[in-house]
């Protein structure tokens, strides 16, 4: 009983869709079929929207989040607590932490974790940018990286650098299920982890 895959252009489409995170082969097939079976106007609108989103959105120059202008809303918001920066692996994590409603400071995306196996060195991450942002006003850096060994190693690396500047470094408490990524944690879990953060 061999598995049957769609062939030709349809197969190509399925394969492309399955490259998105969290999309398995079965879901990719369902999405591809639904796209092709829907009317031409829906496809046109959808591809126009994709193009529009891609050209209107870029990375915030400061925190690295997705932004409609050079500087994102959070970085511009004067009402936020500008003495705290929360460090995340990628912009998606910012969304999860915002949803928890527990945190009112600033963010910084590293765009990855240290991983010699994947050839990712500290220099490849947005660590230099982070250090530039840690000026006189910053009192606390909250490290909110994944609880994987790569997340732990990167946290430790950052903590060493930041502590040299006499700034307090904390990390989320281990309310997070070990081994799973922050984006998948629910708001309550993140809220509890933020409340119980520990100094590094």
């Amino acid at each position: 009983m061999d598995v049957i895959y769609p062939r030709g252009i349809l197969g190509q489409l399925v394969k492309e869709i399955s490259k998105f995170p969290g999309v398995g082969l079965r879901s990719a097939e369902r999405i591809a079929y639904s796209i092709i079976l829907s009317g031409p106007s829906r496809i046109n609108e959808f591809s126009a929207l994709l193009n529009k989103a891609k050209s209107a959105l870029s990375r915030c120059k400061l925190c690295g989040d997705i932004s409609e202008g050079e500087i994102c809303q959070i970085c511009r918001d004067e009402k936020r607590d500008r003495t705290k920066i929360c460090v995340v692996r990628e912009p998606l994590a910012i969304l999860s932490i915002e949803r928890s409603g527990e945190y009112r400071g600033l963010y910084h995306s590293l765009d990855g974790l240290i991983s010699p196996l994947d050839g990712i060195k500290p220099e490849d991450l947005r660590i230099g940018e982070l250090m530039k942002r840690i000026d006189d006003n910053i009192e606390e850096v909250i490290i909110a990286l994944d609880p994987s060994v790569e997340g732990d190693a990167t946290s430790m690396y950052l903590a060493d650098l930041i502590k040299k500047r006499d700034v307090m470094v904390t990390r989320l408490a281990y309310g997070l299920p070990v081994g799973s990524d922050i984006e998948y944690a629910d708001a309550t879990t993140i809220r509890r982890a933020l409340q119980g953060r520990q100094e590094l």
Partner: protein, 368 residues
């Protein structure tokens, strides 16, 4: 707990196989090469998510295919547990389902359907390379000790990263100081692994020693002695860290981590002498059996019921005599799988026996 349903898909030589064993003694008869060991390997894989003999999942996949699946449903007083592992070669990864729900972390599935496998190749862990003994001990402890499994998996992840970094440092691509963040994990998880191995191996040694004495009439004493690559004292963390520092230059020169639990060993002693130097074939076999019985006994005590016993390739008269004596020492009831080439195999273990054979449609009962 007993396995009531097993399904293999593109696992080893089985394209598709279903099996509904009984909760007592299942004797599976078949010629050499038909897949008896593969079948027990699959049940062991459900227990520990590891093979007792292959070190990669890819080896378990039927040649020429690109995925495999193993699923087992076990039944106990608490109800059913349904464990399914799918492997996909293209993504090089496994997906696990527990009671039909996809799990975030595969290690949550380990030890749900506990088993102990007795195999003729068990001689290898008495006499063979340390890696064989580590595999056996890891498969055993992992089924019982969640924190051990956690530490082991994080240790291995850290070790791969540290080794990769050592190679980069060797070629001048990174500074030595970058090792520190990985050394931290090696020390933390390494310490935990060493402490837990010491405890479990100590326990196994006591029980195995008693079984060996009972089976042999007690001429010589059997002992298992743990030989950690890194000593753990009272202030263990410091000890491991110092040791790791002292081998740093070697590590960089070789491009891998030269000390740590991944280099641990434990030895079998007869009296005071290393068993591999003095034991006869028969004694070695008995030591292996005593060691497996000890695992079964400890798992039973720990879990409150006997694990599933998997007895592979029971054919030789020597084994049968040894085993039937040995099994008198664990009289508790429980499920057993025995594989053999002999149709006349006398039951060596008490319980209601069902004979099975391989057929095109799966495993079917033999009518005498």
């Amino acid at each position: 707990m007993y396995l009531k349903y097993l399904r293999l898909y593109q696992f080893r030589n089985f394209n598709e196989l279903e099996f509904e064993p009984t909760q007592d003694v299942n004797i599976i008869v078949g010629r050499n090469g038909i897949g008896k060991t593969n079948l027990l390997e699959a049940i062991g894989y459900l227990s520990s998510l590891r093979s007792h003999r292959a070190s990669t999942d890819r080896t378990l996949m039927m040649l020429g295919k690109d995925e495999f699946s193993v699923r087992g449903i076990a039944s106990s007083e608490l109800g059913n547990v349904d464990v399914r592992i799918d492997y996909f070669q293209e993504r090089g990864r496994r997906v696990g389902y527990l009671d039909g729900n996809r799990v975030d972390r595969l290690i949550d599935m380990v030890g749900r359907i506990p088993s102990v496998l007795f195999s003729p190749e068990d001689l290898n862990f008495v006499r063979g390379a340390p890696s064989e003994r580590r595999r056996v001990i890891d498969i055993f402890i992992s089924q019982l000790d969640r924190e051990y499994l956690e530490a082991l998996s994080r240790y291995n992840a850290t070790l791969s990263q540290r080794n990769a970094l050592l190679k980069v440092i060797q070629s001048g691509g990174a500074e030595v100081g970058q090792l520190e963040v990985w050394d931290d994990g090696i020390i933390r998880y390494g310490k935990e692994i060493v402490e837990r191995r010491a405890e479990w191996i100590g326990g196994l040694s006591k029980v195995a020693s008693r079984f060996y004495r009972d089976v042999t009439g007690g001429e010589q004493e059997l002992n298992l002695v743990y030989e950690p690559s890194l000593e753990v004292g009272n202030d263990a963390g410091i000890g491991i860290g110092e040791r790791l520092n002292s081998v740093r230059e070697d590590d960089i020169r070789y491009g891998f981590t030269t000390v740590g639990p991944h280099r641990d060993d434990f030895k079998f002693l007869l009296g005071d002498i290393r068993a591999s130097q003095v034991a006869s074939q028969g004694q070695t076999r008995l030591m292996a059996i005593a060691f497996r019985l000890a695992q079964s006994k400890m798992m039973g005590d720990y879990l409150g019921e006997r694990p599933i016993l998997l007895l592979d390739d029971m054919g030789s008269e020597l084994d049968l005599t040894h085993l039937s004596e040995a099994f008198r020492l664990i009289p508790e009831k429980g499920q057993v799988f025995v594989t053999t080439t002999r149709e006349d195999l006398a039951p060596i273990i008490s319980g209601e026996v069902t004979f099975w054979r391989f057929s095109d449609s799966g495993i079917v009962e033999m009518k005498s």
